[in-house]
């Protein structure tokens, strides 16, 4: 008992000291987590940052944990502190703990990626060994590392059937556009055609109505009847004639909805595209739209985003990724696409593409 008592006291003191340091790191980093829009919180963060950046490397896992609670601005504050700490090449860097953090899917995507970057720069060989394990990772930035490795191996396979099998495995895992198209092109060379439209989940069947007037670009903010109520049987006054809902589908490889096909290459006009998307549960999702025209997007009557810009670059896949929600059952999705007055050859397009994914980028198909 005489021996045990001091040991117990020592252990309690050790736990207290640990808790004190942990809570003090938590307190130190808190202003970086509380950063808000419009520079709010900068004043406090300015005082906190040098102290956080002065911590020994052993506290990096706590800073990664703090990134779990920060917004993207706070993430950058913390990233800069980790970078400054890493400059010191402190031998106390707890690499195993950081790997543990990386492997824990419950940590936030950005903090896990930051953990991987730390491992890459301090222990590149260990980082390399971790990559194959990212093949099913919900974080796209990590998964793409594993996909790239597997794709590279598949390309080296000399047996055609084996190669096709490997490419198909890669395709099954890839989530990012550049990698999907790269595999698709490689398979095409081996005579296999991939249905990208289906694979990437483009919504291809719409009802459209138009053209409404967009003279002087005023139609963008003008509320035409489809914004108030969807009624496929209604007729409305359009730009020059009565307009009604008509179906428009696409066979385009990447799901491009070409509105010119419906109404001709006309200018200073507005069209609406509507679809009903059926889903089995309530879920936070990402609505991914591409358009070189001005556009607005409503989901279940809620305006999610509006972009008043014409022909600055081409229509791209996932050009805008907008957070939103699908509800269980039928979801109303309405897109307003505007064409302006420009007459140059590169301003003819009146188009968009659209798909829905979960928050990790995996495709969601309609249950229609």
């Amino acid at each position: 008992m005489k021996i045990l008592l001091p040991l117990i006291v020592y252990l309690f003191l050790l736990i207290d000291a640990f808790n004190a340091v942990t809570s003090s790191v938590r307190d130190l980093v808190q202003p970086l987590i509380e950063i808000k829009k419009n520079g709010t919180g900068n004043k406090l963060a300015i005082h906190a940052w040098p102290k956080v950046a002065d911590l020994p490397a052993q506290h990096i896992p706590e800073l990664l944990n703090a990134m779990n609670r920060a917004n993207p601005l706070g993430d950058n504050w913390i990233r800069a502190a980790i970078s400054k700490i890493s400059d010191k090449r402190d031998s106390t860097l707890p690499i195993d703990e950081i790997i543990q953090f990386l492997n824990n899917y419950s940590n936030h995507a950005d903090s896990r990626v930051e953990a991987f970057r730390i491992i890459q720069s301090s222990h590149p060989k260990r980082a390399e060994l971790l990559i194959p394990g990212f093949l099913n990772d919900p974080v796209m930035a990590l998964r793409r590392e594993a996909v790239a490795k597997k794709l590279s191996a598949a390309k080296k396979e000399t047996n055609k059937m084996e190669r096709i099998n490997l490419f198909n495995e890669v395709l099954n895992k890839a989530r990012e556009i550049d990698q999907i198209t790269e595999v698709s092109n490689a398979l095409k060379e081996d005579g296999v055609i991939v249905n990208l439209k289906e694979l990437m989940g483009f919504v291809v069947d719409w009802q459209t109505i138009g053209p409404f007037d967009n003279t002087e670009r005023k139609g963008f903010n003008f509320i035409y009847p489809p914004e108030q109520k969807i009624n496929y049987h209604a007729n409305y006054r359009g730009k020059s004639d009565s307009v009604k809902w008509t179906p428009l589908s696409t066979e385009h490889e990447l799901g491009l909805i070409n509105i010119n096909e419906q109404y001709g290459e006309i200018k200073e006009v507005v069209a609406y595209a509507h679809t009903r998307f059926t889903f089995g549960e309530n879920m936070n999702t990402q609505f991914r739209i591409g358009s070189k025209n001005a556009w607005k997007l409503w989901v279940n009557g809620e305006l999610l985003f509006a972009r008043d810009e014409y022909h600055r670059g081409k229509t791209r896949i996932d050009q805008f990724v907008i957070d939103g929600k699908l509800k269980k059952g039928t979801n109303d999705i309405l897109v307003k696409v505007c064409q302006n007055e420009q007459t140059q050859s590169w301003t003819k397009q009146w188009e968009f593409n659209f798909r829905i994914t979960d928050q990790e980028g995996s495709v969601i198909h309609s249950g229609n």
Binding site: G39, N42, S83, R307, Y310
Partner: protein
């Protein structure tokens, strides 16, 4: 004659205070350096170096003492934003900070998310990216503050990318964020990153950069847009003078003493009394319109490269054309000049040194870096710095 001497003295005194190169196109945003001219561009010269970059960028280097600062972007979506500090003497990386873009990173293939040149007040540096992320750091790489202006205002973005370079005046950072969907300029407190003022700007894509005009208490900032130019008080954002005859949205205005060269109707020269709310148009000439790059000042002359790769030398005060010569283009960056030489890199990586006087221009040296170059070089002390797609280069005498 007296006016010319005053102009030359003003240019010399402003630039010879130190060998820094603090902004896009130099300390006075006019492409002029009082440094001794380099007469050769030899990558093998002792003291010359090149440093590998992790990603592309159209931004130019800036220089504070022996430190060279540069931004770059990398990643499949250019989502990683890099800020570098190199040793000017050795080319070694002194520090690097990496951030993640909080705004949109989609841009035209030719440009980059790292398109805006950094700026410095001599003790801090600021980098702005096409994602409208803004970072203020000490010269040692300590973060002072940051802002995400597209994070704050989600429609502040251009589908082709943004490129206006920020400036510091009177302790205020001026960030110009102008595009079709949502345009504004903002004055940010350099000490703490707080917004001092924000003013709506014409809703139109604008890649030109703000320009410093005047000095000391009379220092103002020129904002340029398709509608013209606006001279604003950096502390309040209050407009002091407006020129409404339109201006280019790519090349920027160029100050030369109390004269401002505006890329408007070709080129227009305005005489502006610093701190006063009036200006006098001196001349306007559509033969002096720039291509993508902005003019450079040298003594009482300015030099401008047009879309047809013709370099023209003209008098600042009168617009009188002194000589013209064809150079090897095409170019995206702006030329820079000393009293006696002009330096210019074309898109294919060909660097040209042109000896200039009142009578003619003559190519006296060239170097082929065999890399795409879309930015403007920088001069400081005995070094000329330029960034290509993969490297930052230093040339020296």
């Amino acid at each position: 004659m007296i006016k010319i001497l005053i102009l030359a003295f003003a240019l010399l005194s402003l630039n010879s205070l130190h060998a820094n190169w603090l902004n896009f196109r130099g300390n006075q945003s006019n492409g002029f350096s009082a440094s001794k001219s380099l007469i050769d561009l030899n990558a093998d010269q002792e003291g010359a170096w090149r440093a590998k970059l992790p990603g592309r960028g159209l931004s130019s280097p800036i220089i504070v003492g022996d430190k060279v600062f540069l931004s770059a972007s990398s990643g499949v979506k250019q989502e990683t934003l890099h800020i570098f500090c190199f040793s000017g003497s050795t080319g070694l990386t002194l520090w690097e900070r990496k951030f993640r873009a909080t705004g949109r990173t989609i841009c035209h293939e030719k440009t980059s998310v790292a398109a805006s040149t950094m700026t410095s007040d001599g003790s801090k540096v600021v980098a702005q990216f096409s994602s409208n992320d803004v970072f203020c750091l000490t010269l040692s790489g300590d973060l002072i503050w940051l802002r995400g202006l597209t994070y704050d205002f989600p429609n502040a973005a251009n589908g082709l990318g943004m490129s206006s370079s920020p400036l510091i005046a009177k302790g205020v950072l001026l960030a110009q964020v102008e595009n079709d969907a949502y345009s504004f300029s903002m004055g940010i407190n350099m000490n703490n990153g707080e917004t001092l003022w924000k003013k709506d700007r014409p809703r139109a894509a604008n890649w030109s950069s703000p320009t410093l005009f005047g000095n000391g208490d009379n220092q103002t900032i020129i904002l340029q847009s398709k509608e013209g130019i606006s001279i604003v008080n950096p502390k309040s954002g209050k407009e002091m003078y407006n020129f409404s005859e339109g201006a280019s949205t790519i090349p920027s205005s160029t100050p030369a003493g109390n004269i401002l060269l505006v890329p408007s109707n070709g080129m227009t020269a305005l005489e502006i009394q610093a701190g006063q709310e009036k200006a006098k148009k001196l001349w306007s000439d559509n033969k002096l319109g720039p291509g993508t790059g902005s003019p450079a000042i040298s003594k009482d002359r300015f030099l401008v490269i047009n879309k047809a790769n013709v370099l023209t030398c003209a008098r600042i005060e009168t617009g009188e054309i002194l000589w013209r010569m064809r150079i090897k283009g095409p170019s995206s960056g702006s030329p820079i000049a000393t009293d006696s030489h002009l330096y210019f890199f074309n898109e294919e990586g060909l660097g040209q040194v042109i000896k200039i006087n009142d009578k003619k221009g003559e190519v006296v040296a060239s170097v082929d870096l065999e890399e795409t170059i879309l930015c403007t070089p920088a001069i400081s002390g005995n070094g000329l710095y330029v960034r290509s797609d993969s490297f930052l280069w230093k040339f020296t005498n």
